[in-house]
Symmetry: C2
Subunit: 204 residues, 2 copies
């Protein structure tokens, strides 16, 4: 049984949203499963040498203008619903915390929850920085609003996301999406074709 | 006759080196020519919101480590010779100046000269920041060493590269390689598959 592919992402990443539709199906063609590993990309930025603006602050630089158009063009090409949230970048911390709670306590709900978060953020254009948006999504995945409020402030849950982030950084993860296959790293939704080839050929 | 594709790049860019092997052939399949437009990417960085480290300074950040491996992996996949120059990043200013001189005075030599510069820099790993390296390449393209020395210090030639850079920035160019097809921008060697699709479909 070949090892799972690791799919690192930040819930705030529109490119990860696009990849989230494809990575599991792509992996399955090669007998692989995918472990979704949300992390806090902001923590990686200082280490990585990448600026915040590359990661979404639509601050009027020409790179930001390009990225905005590029995301929309990618969504059109893949025929995915796409709507920017009212403010961008957003903060994926609430979603990340509840994701790891589900991984530990109700693992079958974790990916569906993650997909619904992405759909809320980039399909419907809701603000996942707002805890209430995340709480509403969690309600569809066996977490009541009262429970979600507690979980979002739970020290152990917070620590779980922090530890996941530290573990990602230790492996050299710095972008979103970021894939690791048998130790080989691929950064970016536009590298899925290389991910596929790597799985197909077993490397090159 | 459809418009030429514009291929913007900095001679210091290993990703542009990889694209330089493919873009003309790709364009030709769709009845297009390619205008090569070297520019000084450094001038774009301040405007673009991108940091120097994204563009090659191998300064030990995890992004830089990834990019180094990614370039080498891309070269292996495409079966191109690849060798890092002794210091990286390099400075493409000398090469850019002689390129625009050739475009004006001996246009048929311009692309072959550019290809030879890329081959020197990333195929052989020579230092194109050193004017002598560029002068040696120019000698194969009808420019004597004495002439090259003069040209590299010629105010009009310098201005030509500056003007080309300004024109690129005015169009929103900020990376290398960067392609514009009928007003549509594509950034990155890993977007050549989208460039191809855009040419094939006429957009989406």
């Amino acid at each position: 049984m070949p090892a799972a592919i690791d799919f690192y992402f930040d819930f705030s990443s529109p490119y990860a949203y696009l990849s989230s539709f494809r990575i599991d199906e792509l992996a399955a063609r090669f007998g692989r499963t995918v472990t979704w590993r949300p992390y806090m990309m902001g923590a990686a930025l200082k280490l990585s040498g990448r600026p915040i603006s590359m990661n979404g602050s639509m601050d009027g630089t020409i790179a930001a203008d390009y990225l905005r158009k590029d995301v929309e063009r990618g969504a059109r090409l893949d025929k995915r619903p796409f709507k920017w949230p009212p403010k961008f970048p957003v903060n994926g911390v609430h979603a990340g915390r509840l994701y790891y709670y589900l991984m530990t306590h109700d693992a079958e709900q974790a990916k569906p929850f993650a997909r619904d978060i992405f759909a809320s953020c980039f399909g419907l254009g809701l603000d996942i920085s707002d805890a209430q948006t995340v709480i509403d999504v969690a309600a569809k995945h066996h977490i009541t609003a009262a429970q979600a409020q507690l979980l979002l402030n739970d020290a152990d849950i917070k620590e779980q996301l922090r530890a996941a982030t530290d573990a990602a950084l230790a492996l050299g993860v710095f972008g979103s999406p970021f894939f690791i296959i048998d130790g080989e790293s691929f950064w970016g939704n536009d590298r899925l074709w290389q991910v596929k080839r790597w799985l197909d050929w077993g490397g090159w």
